[in-house]
């Protein structure tokens, strides 16, 4: 048999090359739209329209970003989103941990009952309006906590964390700690939490992303415009294509060019909204697979 040859006649090197070509093509397909938006956000809108910005910015300008910041709603929305993301993430991860840990104890009486109690809600729920009415009755309309309390206990993630506790934290450690006189709570705080940092990193990122990107909950429950998170503020620009007077005044040329100005603001709005999460996730990426594997296998 010839060296590096086999029945299909492709050498290892050729196979590698084919794989690199395929993945490289997909890579471009995924990355290019994002790159194009970034480039266009720094470009003169006329050049974007003329198709001169496929690879590099043309007529470099920061006007789009100036216009984004000129609309007072956008900085407010940004601050709101940061606030909601921080509070929501702390709240949700806490809820995940305090529910997943008891459920991970095989000898806890009632464990099965509580598991079923939570899991049922994954498959059946009251639906939009009945939930809305309960939120209303509990006085959360136009209250920030409407974003956290109703959906704060994420059952899917809870199962992942529970399985992680069962599979990746040595049972002997917990027993040893209890024999040494630590209470269950102290063991949880001092032994289990520090040992669960990989899955915590994953959950923090999941929750951060969910809260940063959420707007539907805010659309329903936060009626006041001053409480809208960033994506909801951007809806006016991105979906309805309307710009505020404050934004329009930053652009020289007047209303005749409104349409193009709007497009320009869209590009910079997208960059402003998407950047934070795109910067954060690569730092915890290495935990994703590990966390999924430890969490997906039932213990």
């Amino acid at each position: 048999m010839a060296k590096n040859r086999n029945s299909t006649g492709l050498s290892e090197k050729t196979s590698d090359l084919i794989l690199i070509l395929i993945t490289g093509f997909v890579l471009l397909l995924v990355a290019y739209p994002l790159y194009y938006v970034l480039v266009a956000s720094f470009s003169n809108p006329y050049d974007v329209y003329a198709g001169k910005t496929f690879l590099l910015p043309s007529g470099f300008t920061l006007d789009g970003y100036k216009a984004v910041l000129a609309d007072p709603n956008i900085p407010t929305g940004y601050l709101n989103s940061i606030k909601y993301t921080i509070i929501g993430t702390v709240f949700s991860v806490t809820m995940l941990y305090i529910s997943a840990y008891p459920l991970a104890q095989r000898d806890l009486p009632g464990r099965k009952f509580f598991s079923v109690f939570f899991i049922i809600t994954m498959y059946f729920g009251g639906g939009l309006v009945p939930t809305y009415l309960v939120v209303k009755q509990t006085g959360l309309i136009n209250n920030m906590w409407a974003l956290f309390l109703p959906g704060g206990v994420g059952v899917g993630n809870m199962i992942i964390v529970r399985n992680y506790f069962q599979n990746s934290i040595p049972h002997e450690l917990i027993e040893a700690s209890e024999i040494d006189g630590c209470s269950k709570l102290r063991t949880f705080l001092r032994i289990v939490i520090p040992l669960s940092m990989p899955i915590m990193a994953v959950m923090v990122v999941f929750c951060m992303v969910a809260y940063w990107n959420d707007w539907f909950t805010a659309l329903i429950y936060l009626t006041g415009a001053e409480k809208a998170p960033l994506p909801l503020v951007l809806r006016n620009v991105l979906i309805k294509s309307s710009v505020s007077a404050a934004q329009a005044s930053t652009i020289s040329g007047g209303y005749a060019e409104m349409n193009k100005v709007t497009e320009m603001i869209k590009f910079s709005s997208i960059v402003v909204a998407a950047a934070p999460m795109l910067i954060v996730y690569p730092f915890v990426q290495k935990y994703f697979e590990k966390g999924f594997m430890a969490g997906a296998v039932k213990g």
Partner: protein, 309 residues
């Protein structure tokens, strides 16, 4: 494993009352999640009965008149009812058919890449769109499809307003969905593949198997159970078309294909405050889903010994 442990613990097993008392701190931890779940998940389930009543906020649930199936009848006789059910099913069915194979093929390719740095870059980039808000993605879709100066029209040299064409809606919805989530969908498959015994690859190499043969004979069988499970589970949520993206991409002119139940439930319930009617439509949707899920779970537990429900 569990059985042997129980046996080992057997002799010093405590009474149930004692075990509950020992664990009081753990129950305390569970308290808040249980209360929240009860209030915001279980009470709304109880509230579903307004689908059978003429709910008036002033009269409360019990005071509102019982009307039986009236709201359901109204939905089924609504002129757009058939269209909405059809669109909902077709949109998720086609999403599943097109979207399901992509992460599998991608992860098979990524898994065989032998250059760790390049592999990592590929993964990082493919995960990226998952971290972007649907609002932003829909904003991008609208920009790219704009008839004047949109990227797609620039590339094909035409001026088509895609979002006003009902024939294009499903393609837009599905293609952008694959763009956003196919990479992320690889994670579970890559994690499965990373558990494949490396000696299998070595044995295959010694036997002279090409990379393609290794993929077909080692990787594919390893992925198959997970893939089947995923497919079955997605089939169980066939009526679950997300509200957000459809709502953001819907225009008056593409409604022939973009009119779906989820959007209708929102418009009737929140925008028009027709609480009972909207609840009835939502309940219909949930009920169909539950039936599908039940069928699918029965099949799944017979074929793969795994059941989720």
């Amino acid at each position: 494993m569990q059985a042997t442990k129980a046996k080992a613990l057997g002799p010093r097993r405590k009474s149930i009352g004692r075990r509950i008392a020992d664990n009081w701190q753990l129950y305390l931890l569970l308290l808040i999640p249980v209360i929240l779940t009860f209030i915001y998940k279980y009470i709304p389930m109880y509230g579903i009965q307004i689908a059978f009543r003429n709910y008036k906020a002033s009269k409360g649930i019990w005071g509102s008149k019982w009307v039986g199936w009236e709201w359901f009848e109204r939905f089924f006789t609504a002129p757009t009812c058939g269209r909405m059910i059809r669109n909902t099913i077709l949109l998720s069915l086609f999403s599943l058919l097109w979207g399901f194979p992509v992460p599998i093929i991608l992860s098979l390719c990524i898994n065989q890449l032998r250059f760790p740095r390049y592999k990592r870059i590929v993964q990082t980039v493919l995960y990226a769109p998952h971290f972007i808000s649907i609002m932003v993605v829909c904003g991008m879709i609208r920009i790219f499809l704009s008839p004047s100066g949109g990227l797609i029209n620039l590339l094909i040299g035409k001026q088509i307003d895609f979002l006003t064409e009902s024939g294009a809606f499903r393609t837009i919805y599905i293609a952008s969905g694959i763009w956003q989530d196919a990479g992320w969908g690889c994670i579970i498959y890559l994690a499965t593949l990373s558990n494949v015994d490396t000696s299998l690859y070595e044995a295959a190499k010694v036997d002279g198997a090409s990379m393609f043969q290794r993929i077909m004979n080692v990787d594919v069988p390893a992925l198959l159970p997970m893939a089947i499970l995923n497919l079955i589970m997605s089939a169980g949520s066939l009526m679950n078309v997300g509200f957000e993206k459809v709502w953001l991409l819907q225009t008056d002119l593409n409604k022939a294909t973009s009119d779906v139940i989820a959007v209708y439930v929102y418009q009737q319930g929140i925008e028009n405050a027709k609480y009972s009617y909207s609840t009835a439509v939502g309940l219909f949707n949930t009920a169909v889903n539950l039936v599908l899920l039940f069928i699918v779970n029965t099949i799944a537990s017979k074929t793969s010994e795994v059941n989720f429900v």
